[in-house]
């Protein structure tokens, strides 16, 4: 059991997770931002490591990634910043990023290092299920790291069942097939999709992400899932001056 599993056993509703890009707006801010988010009430966090070609991301996260790379952020540097992580942050932490930087770092080495620093799970949108299962799952399992899979409205029922089998903390439900940063309108078809997933009675909790940006979208998501993830909206806040002071207010605006 890692921190994620403990969280999901003790708390089943209205979970709030926040995504932000490491190295943005500046280096050496990762743990400060994480600690402030924990203090403000976030239940768990996704720390993004930047990539030059983020195909699943919209303009906001593309921009934060570009800036982070300009600031010199690398996986090595992120791991250095995270040496302090578990002295200051107790909530579950996931790392999120694209596969190529992990391949270059070494997949096994990456898993070991992340676990050693107190990371609980990994989200790699472009690591496919077949390759994960055939080649890499042992690195995750041996290091007690959860691998998080995404599900979209187009994912077939068979595939969702298989994802449920391979998952051991939560399943990331995309509100729609979209890149990050879109705006979400709750349409009938999205509601049908949420209901369809709920009716499947999966063994893993579900968390909804992509397009969650305010209390309204958060509340809607939480009617159907165990919680929701806010990404682009928070990354935008980091562009503002005195963003550290604004974090508690931001969390309240999403989940009063």
């Amino acid at each position: 059991m890692n921190r994620l599993n403990q969280l999901f056993t003790s708390k089943k509703d209205n979970l709030l997770s926040i995504y932000f890009t490491a190295g943005y707006p500046a280096i050496n801010t990762t743990v400060d931002i994480a600690a402030a988010l924990e203090k403000a009430g976030a239940d768990f966090l996704e720390i993004g490591f930047p990539y030059s070609d983020p195909v699943a991301d919209g303009p906001t996260i593309q921009h934060s990634s570009e800036r982070a790379l300009e600031n010199g952020m690398t996986l090595n540097m992120l791991f250095e910043e995270l040496t302090e992580l578990r002295k200051r942050v107790t909530i579950p932490i996931l790392l999120m990023g694209y596969f190529n930087p992990i391949v270059q770092y070494g997949i096994e080495r990456f898993c070991k290092k992340a676990a050693e620093l107190g990371v609980d799970g990994i989200i790699v949108p472009d690591l496919p299920m077949y390759e994960y299962e055939q080649m890499y799952s042992s690195y995750f399992i041996d290091n007690n790291l959860s691998n998080i899979f995404l599900v979209t409205p187009q994912t077939s029922e068979d595939r969702i069942r298989k994802i449920d089998e391979l998952s051991n903390s939560f399943i990331y439900l995309l509100s729609s097939s979209s890149i990050t940063g879109g705006s979400l309108q709750l349409t009938n078809s999205i509601e049908d999709y949420y209901k369809r997933i709920k009716a499947m009675e999966l063994k893993n909790p579900t968390i909804i992400g992509f397009g969650i940006s305010d209390n309204n979208t958060f509340k809607q998501a939480c009617t159907y899932a165990n919680g929701a993830i806010v990404g682009s909206k928070f990354v935008k806040l980091l562009e503002e001056e005195n963003y550290m002071e604004k974090i508690p207010g931001f969390i309240k605006s999403i989940r009063p």
């Binding site: 070609d53 983020p54 195909v55 699943a56 596969f99 472009d126 979209t152 890149i179």
Partner: protein, 602 residues
């Protein structure tokens, strides 16, 4: 994997088998077989296309008879099925290709083959019977593990639809082809066309892709796969499940071939470049993809994919483009089919290939600038992928090269393979031999090169040369020489070789040629590079522009700057005077006139 159909005699049946496109057809020319016929239909044999090799099967026949039958029927191949010696076999090799057949049983001693090394072209392993083959029985195929020589072999004896799965498991580097015979007959000497067709489909597409082809998980050796986010999975999976059955469908093929012929203008000429031949001291041929409608090879793939998209019921097409050639080709086929078209193009490329931007607009496409990252081809590809994520149901993404997640690299290679298919036929017609010594092409993502290499991959004696863009020099920091500067990693959905930092960030490439300005290569190229089946070199901007000028002034052909890279490679090669060299002239230089004019101050 080659296919030989053996034991034919009936004129109509021969024609029907030929229509399936086997690599070899065999005629029994000895007295003891039930399939023996005294007189073969000479006119039917003569009318067979040159790329179907006519094979005569003999058992302990005299040299005199063999030679007279070769004369009479113009056989390309003889298959010696008796106790012929190595010397005897070798004595025909100045006239024809020689197969030496052996009947195998559990006691077979492979040492006896050593004497035949360098004396025959291929072995054919059959099941040992009292009656020199044709029994319909198999031998124990595990025995093949004991065969260690470097002569490629055909598998014969009892091959049938029932043992295709076992054939698939034969993993031998010299396994070159299968011989289909008695298990595909309705009567002795009469082949069952529908059974053969099934076998051809299985062999060609599912079970035995070429040795250098893709496996069922989408990999070429260590490269390939489908590294895509879940949002793209349903679309890519739909393609994966359907592409082979769609493109092998007779109706699809007919429509594809008709458009290639009557709309694109294929076959494109294979032109013997006489002044170039003189200059470089070899027989140099240009495969003229520049003469295709829209001016490059890109249209072959665009036609294939638009027909596929229609069959998948898609209503909207997206594409990325670098030089604009693929964008123009895609806009063209969308106009042809009346389908909405959106093309993503890097902002920098839009400026340096302005005429193509206007062409796309005139053809009714929407051109959307990609303004992130390096603002060139890789960023256009990112934008196209993002569009596809957001439009998961009704949109097809026509990728323009042999890159992207499986099945794209294989699918695009198949659509482009018409280049080498035609080349083989044309070479045979023009020179009497179908295999050149060298085949050369430029590589951006690698689609013209893959099309040019495709049907030569299994012919190991053909040297394949792929030319990348060195930009201002491989060490200058402004280059796109991927195999030289890159490392293994994941880009745009496949594991391949790409230019990147030690931290795995994709490096922005540079080349004066927008079509080669890409930080990766297709996964099949990465594989051919890694196992040394093809040689990868690079040419600088300056060398390419000079070669473009030379070709213009010596052959009257202004090539695309991409193509000029392949031409420039000639300067660095040394040929023997009887070498035959084929270069893919992937596109014409109209779109590059501005660049040429500025460089040469015309």
């Amino acid at each position: 994997m080659k296919i030989k159909v053996c034991g034919l005699r009936d004129p109509e049946n021969i024609k029907a088998v030929a229509a399936l496109g086997p690599d070899y057809v065999g005629f029994i020319c000895y007295g003891l077989s039930p399939r023996y016929v005294a007189e073969l239909p000479g006119d039917v044999l003569k009318a067979l296309p040159a790329n179907i090799r006519k094979t005569a099967v003999f058992v302990n026949e005299s040299a005199e008879t063999i030679n007279s039958l070769i004369d009479k029927y113009a056989f390309d191949v003889i298959q010696l099925h008796g106790d012929e010696s190595a010397e005897f076999s070798n004595s025909f090799r100045n006239r024809v290709t020689v197969f030496k057949a052996f009947g195998l049983n559990d006691d077979f001693n492979f040492d006896q083959l050593t004497a035949y090394e360098n004396k025959v072209d291929y072995f054919l392993f059959d099941t040992k019977t009292a009656a020199y083959g044709g029994s319909g029985k198999t031998f124990n195929w595990d025995m093949l593990n004991n065969y260690k020589l470097a002569v490629p072999f055909f598998l014969s004896g009892g091959v049938s639809l029932d043992n295709m799965d076992e054939i698939k498991k034969i993993d031998h580097p010299q396994f070159y082809g299968v011989d289909l015979n008695s298990r595909f007959e309705t009567a002795p000497g009469v082949k069952d066309i529908s059974k053969l067709k099934q076998a051809f489909d299985i062999i060609r597409n599912k079970i035995l892709p070429m040795k250098y082809g893709v496996n069922e998980h989408g990999y070429y050796g260590d490269f390939g796969g489908a590294y895509i986010p879940e949002m793209l999975y349903p679309n890519v999976e739909e393609l994966r499940q359907q592409y082979l059955s769609i493109i092998n469908d007779a109706g699809f093929k007919a429509e594809f071939n008709d458009l290639l012929k009557n709309y694109v203008g294929r076959p494109s000429p294979l032109y013997h470049a006489k002044r170039y031949s003189e200059k470089y001291g070899a027989s140099i041929f240009f495969k003229r993809e520049d003469l295709n409608h829209t001016g490059s090879h890109k249209i072959n793939n665009a036609i294939g994919q638009i027909l596929l998209a229609k069959r998948l019921g898609k209503k909207r097409i997206i594409a990325e483009t670098g030089a604009g050639q693929h964008g123009v080709a895609t806009a063209t086929v969308c106009a042809l089919m009346g389908i909405e078209c959106v093309v993503y193009m890097g902002e920098i490329d839009m400026a340096r290939q302005a005429p193509n931007v206007s062409r796309m607009k005139m053809l009714g496409a929407t051109v959307k600038p990609a303004s992130s990252g390096s603002k060139t081809l890789k960023d256009a590809t990112n934008e196209a992928m993002r569009d596809w994520i957001a439009n998961p149901v009704d949109t097809h993404y026509i990728i323009g090269s042999v890159v992207g997640p499986y099945p794209y690299p294989d699918m695009v290679a198949r659509f482009q393979s018409v280049i080498s298919e035609e080349t083989k036929k044309q070479l045979l017609e023009q020179t009497g031999k179908e295999l050149p010594e060298y085949v050369m092409a430029c590589v951006g993502g690698g689609s013209n090169a893959m099309g040019m290499f495709y049907h030569f991959l299994d012919d190991e004696q053909v040297k394949l040369i792929a030319v990348e863009a060195a930009g201002k020099g491989v060490d200058s920091g402004h280059s796109a020489a991927t195999t030289f500067l890159g490392h293994e990693g994941v880009l745009h959905g496949s594991r391949t070789i790409l230019m990147q930092t030690p931290d795995g960030q994709v490096v922005e490439p540079y080349s004066i040629s927008a079509g080669l300005d890409y930080p990766g290569i297709g996964p099949q190229h990465a594989h051919l590079y890694k196992i040394n089946r093809a040689q990868y070199t690079s040419i600088t901007d300056d060398e390419a522009l000079q070669a473009g000028l030379l070709c213009s002034q010596m052959e009257g052909i202004i090539p695309a700057i991409e193509t000029a890279h392949a031409l420039a490679q000639l300067e660095k090669m040394t040929f023997k005077s009887d070498d035959t060299v084929v270069i893919c002239i992937s596109g014409r230089g109209d779109k590059d006139l501005d660049t040429y004019i500025k460089y040469f101050n015309f």
